[in-house]
């Protein structure tokens, strides 16, 4: 391993933080601050592209590992590493952040410095969550995402921002202390916070069988609130509606994936038997989420709320895929995570562009927008179709794989889940029709400006990636599949134990 490979994860993780610290020293010249943030986030993106380029697809286990002692007693290490699962989530984060900077170019004009500092700190915390292999470090970054996100919502949000920010903070905070308790219990029993060590040795703890179910739930509740899985989803629509556009993009694009990533990594990794044992009710909740989210999205008068509920529905697919314990299901879950990040990120940016011009998200305020804003309408349609799951675009592959997996696990799950695909076509296309087609209903909309250059620069990358992901999913699945395969290995052992006592 050369020097760059050894330090690349540290570099990628802390580059945005370094940028944020430099920003603190910047004079309050808004233009310079924006350009500097863009440069920092692009630099991070370039650095992070080193990961997929030099990633060994066939190798199992973690790559680009760093493991240095940080605190001697309690035994905490600065242990980072990525596999095929976390690799793409890191890249997703670094991909979306520059777009967030672009989309906030004009829309944030008050306290610009604070905004970009928070955005960059948030990026560091998010990358850290996906790269940490030490449970302390993981929890450290996990909690560290809370503050910048809550502040982004609460300071830069819309009318009910304080309520939404506090609700977001309290929901996730209360849920994650259960995970903290579970992590501390594991440390007390194993003397280590190291994920790999705990994973390999957790079975030999004497009191583990009695505690395993509680530990599983401790982790699960933290992740389920973050996802959010029905019925823990109520913070999400509020947070999304009130958040500034960049906040929504990162919230839907990356923050929610922290939950599903956590389930995949920790629930399945550390507690395979409990995962299997609990899978039925979790899958039922996921199905409820898929259908309920879609139905509620259908009746939303508010565009952003509609997209928020569509996230509840899409993330339901991810959970369904994970707990189907099939190779197709897990591959699909990973792919939906990435696809949802891209297309929902795009949708939130597009909604934000409209809000910029009219200061409202009410669907009824619009109509016939395709006439004054043709380029915008085309791009919007493209992203909507990607989100709906049109074949050859990114949404299709993931959902198809998830449904295949769910069907293998239990046919009825596959059948019910498949209705979600239909619902999502309904609510998104109906929304599109109401907003863009027909005559212009409000005269004020006639004079709306079509996309500006920086807006195009923000949304086009999403569209391009959505297309590439749809046409050549193998680029992603080639590295995801081996990781998924090894994630399923302990579960397969679990089955053999059950079958052959």
């Amino acid at each position: 391993m050369n020097a760059l490979d050894r330090h690349i994860l540290t570099l990628v993780t802390f580059a945005p933080l370094a940028g944020a610290l430099l920003l603190v020293l910047f004079p309050r010249r808004d233009r310079d601050i924006r350009i500097f943030s863009l440069v920092v986030s692009l630099l991070t993106l370039v650095l992070s592209l080193h990961l997929p380029v030099h990633f060994h697809r066939m190798a199992s286990g973690f790559q680009f590992e760093v493991d240095k002692p940080w605190i001697s007693r309690p035994n905490i290490h600065y242990h980072m590493g990525i596999d095929g699962i976390s690799l793409w989530l890191v890249v997703l984060t670094t991909f979306l952040t520059p777009l967030c900077v672009l989309i906030s170019w004009k829309s944030v004009h008050d306290r610009v410095k604070e905004f970009f500092i928070l955005l960059l700190i948030l990026e560091t915390a998010l990358i850290g969550v996906f790269t940490s292999l030490d449970l302390f470090l993981f929890y450290f970054f996990w909690e560290a995402t809370l503050i910048p996100m809550a502040l982004l919502i609460g300071v830069f949000g819309h009318e009910r921002k304080v309520y939404a920010a506090v609700k977001f903070f309290m929901y996730t905070m209360i849920a994650s202390v259960f995970m903290l308790a579970a992590i501390l219990w594991l440390y007390a029993q194993t003397g280590s916070f190291d994920f790999v060590y705990i994973r390999d040795h957790v079975g030999s703890i004497q009191s583990f069988p009695a505690a395993a179910q509680w530990l599983f739930l401790g982790f699960f509740i933290a992740f389920a609130v973050k996802v959010p899985l029905f019925p823990f989803h109520t913070w999400l629509p509020d947070a999304h509606v009130e958040a500034p556009t960049a906040g929504s993009v990162l919230l839907a694009g990356v923050l929610l994936k922290m939950g599903t990533y956590g389930m995949l990594r920790f629930n399945l990794g550390l507690f395979p038997e409990q995962s299997r044992h609990n899978a039925p009710w979790i899958m039922v909740l996921a199905l409820i989420g898929i259908i309920y989210g879609a139905l509620v999205a259908m009746v939303q008068p508010n565009m952003k709320k509609l997209i928020a509920y569509s996230s509840v529905s899409h993330l339901g697919f991810v959970v369904l895929g994970i707990f189907s314990f099939t190779r197709a299901g897990l591959n699909g879950a990973m792919f939906v995570m990435l696809a949802h990040g891209i297309s929902t990120g795009g949708l939130f940016m597009l909604a934000g562009i409209l809000h910029e011009r009219r200061h409202t998200y009410e669907i009824s305020e619009f109509g016939g927008l395709a006439t004054p804003m043709p380029a915008y309408a085309k791009l919007y349609l493209f992203i909507v179709l990607a989100s709906v799951g049109l074949p050859l675009l990114n949404g299709f592959i993931g959902e198809f794989l998830v449904l295949t997996g769910a069907f293998q696990a239990k046919p009825i799950y596959g059948i019910l889940g498949a209705t979600g695909v239909i619902w999502s076509a309904c609510y998104l296309l109906w929304m599109f029709q109401r907003v863009f087609y027909g005559k212009v209903t409000h005269p004020v909309n006639n004079s709306l400006h079509d996309l500006y250059g920086f807006e195009k620069a923000a949304v086009w990358p999403c569209a391009v990636v959505a297309l590439v992901m749809g046409v050549a999913p193998i680029l992603w699945l080639a590295s995801i599949d081996p990781a998924v395969h090894s994630a399923l290995a302990p579960l397969a052992q679990g089955i053999s134990k059950v079958v052959m006592p």
Binding site: S72, A144, V162, F169, A181, L184, A188, T190
Partner: protein, 511 residues
Amino acid sequence: MTAVLAQVQVIPQASDYIRILPELVLSLFGILVMLLDAVIPEEKGPKTLGLIAFGGTLAGLIATWFTSHSPGSAFSNTIRVDSFSIFFTFLVIAIAAVVILSSFEYMTVQRIRAGEYYALILFSIVGMTLMASAIELVMIFIGLEISSISTYILAGFRRNDAASSESSLKYFLLGSFATAFFLYGVALIFGATGSTKIDVIALKLQGAPAPVLVFVAMALMFVGLGFKVAAAPFHVWTPDVYEGAPAPVVGFMSTAPKAAAFAVLLRVVFVVNAPGRFWFLWVAAAVSMTIGNVGALVQTNVKRLLAYSSIAHAGYLLVAFAMTTADNSLTGISAAMFYTAAYAAMNVGAFAVVSHFANAGERYVTLEDYEGLGRSSPLLAATLTIFLLSLIGIPMTGGFFAKFYVFSAALRANLIWLTLIGVLNSAIGAYYYLRIIVAMYMREARKEVPVTPIPFGLAMALTLTVAATLYLGLLPNRVLQIAQHSAQQLLPSATPANTAQIPPPAPVSQP
């Protein structure tokens, strides 16, 4: 009895004085401040005396450093200098130094005569350092009284304000009750064991079942110390006293006397191995956390809010005391020591901001006054936010690691329920700290609140406390090692509980 008497040296030696060097230096500076107060002209007074007092604390820190090189006992085995006592001495003096720095401006703005104020702070830390290093109960009591009496007066220093006088009087009346309880406990334990020396008491209580008298004595001593650390159910005074007392003094008395009292409590609980303490401490910890956090939820006065928060934090700290076996006690002691340090850094810092912002007559201390502070004074707001995040227990801050370490120790001792109560409480607690952050950043100012520039002393104080808070959160290793080393010295018989229940190269059982 003869053996005990034989140890007694009647004439103190030079090494005895070196071992109380910090106390001597601080007392001298305190007297100097009082004397100079009479000769220095009124207009120059506050600044000069403040600087002398600050110099006194620096000299005290240097003296502590000297003392740390000659560990051992002094004055007929009533004082012991070890890394435990040095830790708390250093902490208490450092707190005083920062509080003095942040008081410069406050004295001028509130038109308070400074001489007695600085002298009293110096005298009170003399008492606290004595508490940290005393290993004899009467000596501890003397330290307790020196520190308490000074703080009673400090609480009433805004003489023209009724609330301040009320605060002082309440603190005095309840506080003297509490110290009386403590003294009564000392008397009873002397009756039961025939000694007031902690080592001897520990020796006497070893093995044989403890007589009822010991239980009563321990309970009474806990009442006295529980009052000092504001642990439930002896917490009722806290909100009123904190609300009325001058803000820098609250920063001081919510950290320094607490640290000293916790030092005594650590010695009494763990060295004596106090019998029957487990449920007592368990309940006190759980109730303190809950009452503190629930009480703080509805406060609108920032000082009252932080008063309830200090009750809650005393509760988190007491979690580390609910250890029974010797191995777990080591982790418990070091966790408690680390927590006191982290709490001191963040709380002194928070009160420094509050006292600057309060302005003349402490007019601006409600949540409403903090609205829009993020815009009108971004630096001050950002600093306060760091302290509040640390009080919540957000990563990268000392408060996070302190809580993490305490709960980790508790789970190692299998205190699952207490840990759950603790983590849930810290989640609930996040809400009220968040309210201050919300007010500062997410609301616009509704009334005109003057923002004065940050003076140099305050800037220094804030830099120090922010640096300490972040240092303890990011690089806790050094302080942890000191704490663990001290715990080891305190309980030489215990083995460090580094090993887990399964040995590191655990056999992997293949199915």
